[in-house]
Amino acid sequence: MSLLEVADVTVRFGSLTAVDHVSMRLERGGVLGLVGGSGSGKSTLARVIVGLQRPTAGSVRLDASAAITSKGDRKARARTVQMVFQDPYRSLNPRMTIGEMLEEALRLRSGDGPADSERDRLLDLVHLDPAVADSYPHALSGGMRQRAAIARALAVEPRLLVADEITASLDASVQGAVLNLLRELRSELGLALLFISHNLATVRYISDEIAVMHNGRIVEIGAIDKIIDDPQNEYTRRLLDAVPPPIERAAAAIMRSRPSARAAESTGPAAEMSIDAIRTSKEAN
């Protein structure tokens, strides 16, 4: 039985069709990557799935219970699906401490005042120090805020987490840590993920299945390796081409293709220096 079933969802804004007859399903504990360029409709689809946007047509079924469309039971939906947003600078209330924010979410799950231990367990889950609870968001770095946002989403113990470009606004050195965290959470909590990104390399790293979206439609969907190795759709191929090659290979390719770069390399002032010479020059400094 599927955890998420999107059946023929269409979203129109005036004359613009943002999502065009999209259907997909996601099993418990599965990870579906949703890839597409800007304006492909992937964020709108995410908002429909979590209930922030009402579909013009079609339905979203969560946990095979009766269709929870826009009017469904908010609480039941909240415990099934949560979302983490792209920009952690905008997704945390600047006037609430991290602790207050998590306590509020925990209270919504259990009803009465949550224990501090619960809050600390959440922070621990996303590798944040318990001391962070007293900080306001502006005192935290982008990576820490995104962890806090993930902790808030996990507080109600959802079974599906929608991650909308959650690494796009983070620095390179912290993106990897957030991706690692998602993988950990998946194996520890059995969490299902809808991972939305424009970067196929990132999606490939984290997903089992992948859906490629273009102009509001899903143009290709299937197992990740199959699509990466043998893309059927032209748009998928273009997305794959846009992924920067591994850096060493890219650099080597430039060396081959640009004789000028090679020439400069060999005549560089320090190119002939031996390691010993470099050490000597360092000590001289």
């Binding site: 800007s38 922030l52 909240a78 949560q82 979302m83 947003f85 905008r90 997704s91 209330n93 600047p94 006037r95 609430m96 919504l108 590798h127 944040l128 120090d129 962070v132 900080s135 005192a139 935290l140 770095s141 990576g143 962890r147 989403a153 620095d171 390179a172 050195s173 912290v174 993106q175 990897g176 840590a177 991706l179 690692n180 950990e184 424009h198 196929l200 390399a201 490939r204 790293y205 081409d241 846009a242 920067p244 850096i247 060493e248 290979r249 890219a250 650099a251 080597a252 430039i254 000028s260 770069a261 400069a264 390399e265 560089g268 002032p269 320090a270 390691i275 470099i278 050490r279 360092k282």
Partner: protein
Amino acid sequence: MEPAQGAQRRRRWGRELLRTPAGALAASLTSALVVLAIFGPLVWGHDASHENFHALNQGVSSAHLLGTDSLGRDIFARVLVATRLSIGLAAIATTIAAVAGCVLGGLPVLLSRRWQRLASSVILTWMSFPVLVLALFVAILLGPGARTAVVALALTMTPQFARLVQTLAAAVGGSDYLAAARLLGVSRRRQLTRYVLPNIAEPVILNVTLSVGGALLALSTLSFLGLGVQPPSYDWGQLLGNALSSIYVAPAAAIGPAVAVVVAGLAFSFLGEQLATSVRERTTFRSSHRQLSGLPSPAANARAGIEGPGASKESLLEVDGLSVSFPMGDSWVSPVRDVSFSVAGHEIVGIVGESGSGKTLTALALGNLVPRPGAVAAARLRFDGKDLLELDDRALREQVGTDMAVVFQDSASALNPALRIGTQLTEVVRVHKRATRSVARRAALEALSAVQISWPAKRLRQFPHQLSGGMRQRVAIAMARMGEPKLVIADEPTSALDVLVQKDILDVLRATCSDTGSAALIVTHDISVIAPICDRILVMYAGRLVEDLRIGQLARGPGHPYTCALLESLPDLETETGVALATIPGRPPAPAEVGEGCAFAPRCRYATDRCYEEVPPLVAHQGGRLACWHPCEPEEVDGSLGTRASTIPGESCHSGTLKKAALDGGTGVRQ
């Protein structure tokens, strides 16, 4: 800059206000009025109500400063006593209006769109009723009196507050944090009290303060007309009304209450203005013109020359000991410190770093674009044979306008939305090269075709908003191209663009450089995106240049542990999916936190005591330059894998050891 740093600074409202003379004056005037309102009736209450039939309608005397009224009561005392009722009623009316306005303007954000539209039209219709008409209407319904005046005033002020709150709340309503709260199932009441109201409080409070002055004036008007406060009670408006009949005989009786109304009205408006000013100033840098000690002097940083690649006589750009500093409190912080590099003609150089590394400020400093009150210092800043530090502003503008071109990240704000593309493109050559209209037009068409824009002739007539982001960035590059610059500085030129367009834009940038023979300096946070078009990469960390390497060296493996870790930390299409990604624990220090030693040391797995104590100098290394005491060594240097010269033998940055590095990152709290 960090958004929303308000929380702890808000507590300093009061102190900030008192710092300026105008603010202190406004605060003391208002406090005096409030004190008078509280204690006035206790002190002068007797004089004000004491009827003295021996002193009816007296003029100004030392016993009666403003004379007496028809019942012999002292007018000066009455003016002082009336402070309580006048200010009190104004405050009550404003409070009622503010509360009603907050509910009417703030609540619909949490409801459905239909409610929002309804509230919006109610507010707009309501706003169109003038005060007097409404007051007369209310007076007919309720009969004249203080209550009528307050109700009428609150009724006219409510829609104004509602409109303000509605506009402010709409921004919060569209925010991701409110969306997240909705997803969690936070109740509507709590959404209003914990999410919407706290985030709009600042401007609303300012507006309320400003409005008290206006309310005072309006209430006095109503009383003056006889619609407001009725005898035996009295406020300033009523005193003025009573004195009007004998204004030619006893002008002081009218002047007293009139001055009181004006002074009190001004005091509250002044306070509101000063509060607003102090809030505005907090969001910008203060003390821009104050002389601060300890500005890092370029002489201290100066070194004999520039080492490393590109440092030759034909260098187009030579930067030595560049620092950019900003005043913070009573000292300076330097987000860019002691940066030295050079760019040869035709060379494409990338500057790579995380947010806060100083990469953008470095590029801006070259174009003389560092925002005020930043201070740029350098031992040497030569461009095309000219010393940029010695040129005056005008010469600098000339230089930057023609020989240097800048392409910004946000093409939407870099182009003037009100001018056609053609006008903006031809302006460059018409101003700097004094070309005729037709020559300029032909050049513009050529430039647009060169950046592969479809229908160039049609684009010339279009406005920036009619083009996509990628198109606009092409136009920005075409614009740079028109000036035939010797150096193109591009600040994150592709970060805001769709992934499919990024590569095209970089290709166009590269082609532009090879066509025009110009050099380029490309600032980016993503090394993998720009590596394919660069000849050389400069890596910045915490304001310093830590590595300067040729692209070939990048292929063999960089020397700085930070560069190595950056390359390892991002997945590509060949990354093994079963293994955790390499991460760099911790986070980069803020400019003010950079202390002794290598700034990367706390995050570096190879760091030793020396790294914490001495800043490693940027010295020649493997054909480039490197600032590290324990560099990684590239695999191919001597054929054998992983011969680290450091204390940890058998490990190289490509042997995958970093992959096992701590899973975490960034758990420290900034204090």
